[in-house]
């Protein structure tokens, strides 16, 4: 006899109605609202005179378009200022809690949701942003949606959804020194492909996951969308509960105990069946970097740039050629010989305290290469403050990094933080798509420690060598 998966249990708890075709009207507990995907949703509500069903179930914050310096001044006039102002107006108009730019609670939606305890195990959480899968690290069904779906959630607190197939990714073993969760997930995507998990809700499990901190689990779930799955989840455990206890929006006292009881029943049953299983041994991996323009075009940093001529599949071969042309790279080049111009440490993937600690440990007492411009953009004001309390800002500044205010920044280049055409960046973000960090910019994805190592040498570097 089988059993239920974590995904099945959370799903079943949210079905308002089920249709003959298998689609369900699914209740949405929480919705994060940001400035980029919400204006058209609110405009739709206003045009039809609709109200927001449960304003307190939403939390609004501007993170994508905001500048990461000069925050003590008003935003310069322009499209970004207009977009942030529109979010503020809409939040006020509909009574949705809003965290302003200069607030100690401000930050990237996917960083502050967990920090505030807005993200909880067993809930459904959505946001008009594909990296909403990050919140699955807490055992929530969390996924990105479009603006029209945001409008639907605001008006009805529900979405109509088909259940996903289930996929389990087992991560065995312990990563060696210098190997981070980012390396594991890049290795996974390199293996299964950017479309490898489409149609599935992924559960990450295994000894390596059980041993991970919440910061690491969030990095892992954050990247699920880069394998094509909208949902990545991890069963809540004592690590999860220890992280959440005492957070402002987490339950307290007797309610905390009741919640714990509920959450402890969520993990997949031992006999639960998955439609697909993949396993990866974390113990055998080297640090990974991407060389192309999709996250699956990744390789161990010790490798050479692959030769499209050796790729048997014609579509993949064409894709590789296109990527290498855009990246201005030649097959056979050692990855470590690739010189970089910029370093970006931050984003909802790797902008948390542990990420900054890992990068700071590498740069401490050393200096950024003279040809490199490097910046750290903490994922939230709280991360920034905690890092400063530990003196990490000093470490970065002394090494020659710019130390910025929280936001998405050069992950998406919607503010002034962007690559110039042709510039090459070692980045801890999640997407190396063409133009992602600025039109014509070239991105190499990697872990915070690896980005820090590249900043010191001016080229892609195996952080394990640097340590010696």
């Amino acid at each position: 006899m089988g059993g239920s998966t974590l995904y099945d249990k959370v799903w079943a708890g949210h079905v308002v109605k089920r249709d003959d075709d298998g689609s369900c009207l699914l209740y949405v507990d929480r919705h994060l609202v940001q400035e980029v995907s919400s204006p058209q949703a609110f405009a739709g509500l206003i045009a039809r005179g609709r109200r927001v069903r449960r304003p307190e179930a939403h939390l609004a914050v501007a993170d994508h378009a905001v500048p990461t310096s000069g925050r003590d001044r008003p935003l310069p006039d322009g499209l970004a200022a207009r977009q942030v102002a529109r979010l503020e107006e809409n939040a006020a108009r509909f009574g949705i809690p809003y965290i302003p730019l200069r607030d100690a609670r401000h930050g990237i939606v996917h960083v502050i949701g967990p920090e505030r305890g807005f993200t909880l195990p067993g809930i459904t959480l959505v946001c008009g942003d594909s990296h909403t899968c990050t919140h699955g690290a807490f055992g929530a069904i969390a996924f990105g949606i479009g603006s029209s779906e945001c409008e639907m959630v605001l008006a009805t607190q529900c979405l109509r959804q088909m259940p996903q197939r289930r996929m389990r990714v087992l991560l065995h073993g312990r990563p060696g020194p210098g190997v981070a969760v980012k390396d594991l997930v890049l290795a996974l995507i390199a293996r299964i492909g950017v479309g490898g998990a489409v149609g599935h809700a992924v559960e990450f499990a295994g000894a390596a996951v059980a041993a991970m901190s919440m910061d690491a689990r969030m990095t892992l779930c954050n990247m699920t969308i880069e394998a094509g799955a909208r949902i990545g989840m991890i069963a809540p455990d004592d690590t999860t509960f220890a992280y959440l206890e005492g957070r402002p929006m987490a339950p307290r006292g007797a309610l905390w105990e009741r919640a714990l009881d509920h959450w402890r029943g969520l993990p997949s049953d031992p006999g639960a069946v998955f439609d697909r299983e993949v396993s990866l041994d974390a113990g055998t991996l080297a640090p990974y970097v991407t060389w192309g323009t999709t996250p699956e075009e990744a390789a161990p940093v010790t490798a050479h740039i692959p030769d499209p001529a050796a790729e048997p599949d014609p579509d993949r071969r064409a894709r590789m050629r296109r990527s290498l042309a855009y990246m201005d790279l030649r097959p056979g080049t050692a990855l470590q010989d690739v010189a970089i111009d910029r370093v970006f440490i931050g984003s909802c993937t790797n902008g948390r305290l542990e990420d900054l600690r890992a990068a700071a440990a590498v740069v401490a007492g050393r200096h950024v290469d003279s040809r490199v411009q490097a910046m750290v953009v903490p994922g939230s004001a709280a991360v920034r403050a905690a890092a400063e309390a530990e003196g990490l800002d000093r470490v970065f500044r002394d090494a020659g990094f710019a130390w910025r205010e929280a936001g998405c920044s050069m992950c998406v280049a919607m503010n002034d933080d962007r690559l110039a055409p042709g510039e090459r960046c070692a980045s801890t973000s999640n997407r190396n798509f063409e133009g992602r960090q600025g039109a014509g910019g070239r991105t190499h994805l990697m872990s915070p420690a690896m980005a820090a190592a590249a900043s010191l040498t001016g080229h892609l570097t195996d952080v394990r060598e640097l340590a010696r």
């Binding site: 507990d29 980029v36 058209q40 378009a65 008009g128 479309g195 064409a318 919607m414 992602r436 039109a439």
Partner: protein, 205 residues
Amino acid sequence: MSGWTRLEGLAAPLPANDIDTDVIFPARYLLLLEKQGLGRYLFHGHRFGRDGSPLADFVLNRPPYDRARFLVAGANFGCGSSREHAVWALADFGIGCVIARGFGEIFAANCARNGVLALRLEDDAHAHAMAAARAGETFAVDLAARTLACGDILVPFDIDTRVRRALMQGLDEIGFTEADDMTDIARFEDQRKDRLPWLFQDIVP
């Protein structure tokens, strides 16, 4: 939005895999607050040079494909970001149907809500559509019959009932839910409040 049953026109071939939404609609135009008139930013980095002039070799700039109503792409079209702007831009340009070997899921969901058919074809059917697009054949899709005609070949396809209805009737999904489901939602919410009261506390972030 009004629904449609038949769509006819030329199909632009875009034979690449993994075309992401950053390529379809670059992030710098996400600062706009409207969903109308976004067609001019569609594939911007590929359609226009740094000085803003159209690049002659990009398929949508090349007659007759500048009038295309269909797009035929490879696998995993629309992967990446959830930006609905990618679909708004396609629709505004005049594309009513994207044919691919697979789609990013959020992109596909966004298509259904904006009158754009994301049509998944595999193997021979896909190869045929790509060849027909390159040959400049006329495409016609019929949602009622669930067929795609590329030139003189007819390809039957499967489509989710709900998506088909949304495309054909141009439904306002919220209106529909408000009409049919609000009592159920309220009842569900009440039960949830009893069972999981911590999700209904009035607490400040």
